[in-house]
Amino acid sequence: MSDTSDGIRAGRLAPEEYARNFSDSHAPLQRVQALIEADRCYYCYDAPCINACPTGIDIPTFIQRIAQDNIRGAARAILEENILGGMCARVCPTEVLCEQACVRNTNEDKPVEIGLLQRFATDGYFAKPGAPLFSRAAKTGRRFAAVGAGPAGLSFAHRLAMLGHDVVVFDANPKAGGLNEYGLATYKTVEGFAQKEIDWLLSIGGIEVRCNQALGRDVVLSDLVRDYDGVFLGMGLAGVNALGVTEPQAAGLRDAVRFIAELRQASDFSKVPIGRKVVVIGGGMTAVDAAVQSKKLGAEDVTIVYRRGEEAMSASGYEQDWAKRSGVTIKHWAAPKEVVAEGGQVRGMRFATTRVDNGKLVETGETFVVPADMVFKAIGQSYEPAPAGASIKLNGGRIVTDAEGRTSHAKVWAGGDCTYGGRDLTVEAVEHGKRAAISADKALRQAARETRNG
């Protein structure tokens, strides 16, 4: 069964089709496959893949441990550098990270499947965790605050908990996890993995997560700075960029991230309404995820429209292929011009064709309409500076930090998407949180030493 009638409706597919469409997009490795794949790793010296992993996981070591049937050891090698190594194994664009650097590419164009092996090791460990992998150092009695329980904030909290400090994490959302819980594609993180992973992360103790607590509404930065030994800002990107054309109040015109968040929270995919024809405007991971998931909900025609060429899209080649394989059409060189609405309902989207002229993107004067019942805006999110206030210096609209994650405020660190200069990836957020924690701990010890000596 599939319902191809016009308009926005739920239940376009049969229950088993939803189940199939939203199952694991990439089957995990079976043990035999993992052993064979592990054998492909050369155990390189100063391995290029390690340097290409934002969290610096010792990849040859964890792969060697898989080969030696030491799953717990493999998981330890992963998780000690990247506490969300389980989620990263699912969502990292490995084709532009570790796997792109694998020396196997040179002769074979086929890197070691590091991501899948990482998933094998972490899944294997989580299925049978045994004694805790990480324990806390002697309690220091110090307390830190983190704003945002996304990957950055959670990574920060875990590392400090390991070092013996206590951490309170404030998050505006009803659930912890940030985009792990509200953003990443459903088919990348099935079976409630995000929450299971967070439960495991928090099991170390010393971390208190306070949900429904927004900075700027329920708590203010100056109080946190006063009450805690240090503060970490990992608030992600709460704002959504506007199209730059008039956005009428019309049913069917939506933010892609909101749509994705709803989908992630849906208990039953057949209750999620979707158009017959869907247009997604944008060129990043969010655009791809919104488009593919529309298709999986039963939309008949889904088109991503991006204003520049293929190579300029921030979605990787692999993701673009994934969209195409999922039945999504990608149109390049067209910029949004007008939302076509009728009777309070979206009917389509008018685009202007574009080209590059003297290095500048210009419209050619031609326009065309793509008919649609739903139009998703996926042209990027932005950092909302108001909650943190003016004491935190910005650049390009995001928080400026040094390599350790220190902001312009001596007691405030920041990391993840809300900071300037990154690639907006889960794995980077984890690394930022980790570095900031190490830096904050160091600062505390230094201060203690100075008071002692002073």
Binding site: I36, D39, Y45, A47, V103, T106
Partner: protein, 437 residues
């Protein structure tokens, strides 16, 4: 087209590949399938006196595997044939009659008395088989009963039994040697003294494959107990090659026909045994791992190699490399080699660097001008071949011999091109003064 036909101690076969005495030659059914597939001959699974022995009913075999489960080494605790002697001899007779162009050799093992050997030889001769092989090698079970390796480990017994056999049969006598000794030349010499027509080697090597760490029992085990087995397959090839080479170059045994056995898996392995003196070869594990069809690849590969090299018959290259095996003291200490990395092939894995840095001579860079780059420092390299051995890319690192006149930047010595070995080396307290010209 190269002529693969083989004559070994007078026994003719269409190619030099025989199946070794083992499960592949256990009965007529197997041997006929092997001959249909193209095997040149078969040494029948060792027979003994009645009543036949019994085997365990648990695991007889186990393997050393690579990560993707390729068999690297193989182990067994099987005894000799567990079927009545007459059944084996009748089948042998029928198979030889039906396949007159193939070699059929009987492998024998009976207690160490002249009477026992005389009687079994008589029965065997009736089958019309081409020769006998004396199993002095089985290292488990049978050896506890004073047979197999228990004989093969005592040169006097070897000589004695070989002499009895030569006396009581007209058939060619091949003595199969055990590798479970310290110096294979002694049993080989004994076989020769006893009048044996040939030696075949190696039989399997004493081995324990592992330990089941959950149950804390050796592995594999039968109801909680295991017994050491015999190790064979690809992993034992270097050991077998050395033993073949030792016999081929020993003054006392030089020229004795050798049937080479041990780990032969490809045509190349077979050619190597032949180059070190083997007159033909026998295969067991490779057939047990892949089935009889591999004979096609063995003969095809060997034949193509011979055509390329211009050898018309196996005899033309048999033993051709024997004289290159020398004692260490005969190696030319004036010869200097250096590793060279082909930068076009290098995939930058860095393994050559780390092994040379950690365990050899710190002769390979990791970075040059701040960039990841692996290059040999001639002034440190001793040409040990470690990097060549670990590099994952074929032919990426090679050793280059310095030419006369070049300077070894490690020692500052100019290459003379003259041969000089340890016996005359200044550091040798026992050196002989080089003869002055």
């Amino acid at each position: 087209m190269a002529d693969l036909t083989s004559t070994f101690v007078g026994i003719k076969s269409p190619n030099p590949f025989w199946l070794a005495s083992a499960p592949p030659t256990d009965k007529a059914y197997n041997v006929e399938r092997a001959f249909e597939a193209g095997w040149g001959g078969a040494v029948w699974k060792t027979v003994g006196e009645d009543p036949p022995i019994v085997n365990v009913n648990g695991p007889r075999y186990s393997a050393l595997l690579s990560q993707d489960r390729r068999v690297i080494g193989f182990n067994n605790i099987e005894l000799i044939s567990d079927r009545p002697l007459k059944v084996n001899l009748d089948e042998m007779k029928r198979v030889k009659r039906d396949w007159p162009d193939r070699a059929v050799v009987a492998s024998l093992m009976v207690p160490c008395t002249e009477k026992d050997w005389r009687e079994i030889l008589k029965k065997v001769e009736d089958t019309g088989c081409d020769g006998v092989e004396l199993n002095f090698g089985c290292p488990h079970g049978m050896s506890e009963r004073g047979m197999g390796a228990a004989v093969g480990q005592v040169p006097e017994y070897i000589e004695m039994v070989a002499a009895w056999c030569k006396q009581h049969t007209k058939l060619p006598v091949i003595v199969k040697l055990t590798p479970n000794i310290t110096d294979v030349r002694f049993p080989a010499r004994a076989a020769k003294k006893g009048g044996a027509d040939a030696v075949s080697l190696i039989n399997t090597i004493n081995s324990i494959m592992g330990v089941d760490l959950e149950r804390m029992t050796m592995h594999p085990s039968t109801d909680g107990r295991g017994s050491h087995g015999g190790y064979c397959g690809y992993a034992v090839k270097p050991i077998a090659l050395n033993m073949v080479g030792e016999i081929a170059r020993d003054k006392e045994t030089r020229g004795i026909p050798i049937s080479g056995i041990g780990g032969i898996t490809t045509w190349r392995d077979a050619a190597e045994f032949i180059a070190l003196g083997a007159g033909n070869v026998q295969v067991c594990t490779a057939a047990m791992v892949y089935g009889f069809k591999i004979i096609k690849d063995l003969t095809d590969g060997l034949s193509n190699f011979m055509d390329e090299q211009g050898y018309r018959s196996v005899a033309e290259f048999q033993g051709k490399a024997v004289d290159t095996i020398a004692d260490w003291q005969a190696l030319n200490l004036n010869h200097v080699e250096k590793a060279v990395i082909n930068q076009d092939l290098c995939i930058q894995c860095g393994r050559c660097h780390v092994v040379c840095e950690d365990t050899s001579h710190q002769a390979i860079t990791a970075t040059v001008n701040g960039k990841r780059h692996f290059e040999v420092k001639d002034e440190e390299c001793v040409g040990c071949n470690l990097c060549v051995s670990v590099c994952p890319v074929t032919d990426c690192i090679t050793l280059r011999a310095l030419k006369p006149g070049e300077v070894d930047t490690r020692t500052g010595v100019k290459i003379s091109g003259k041969y000089a070995n340890w016996t005359t080396h200044p550091n040798n307290p026992m050196r002989k003064e080089p003869e002055s010209a």
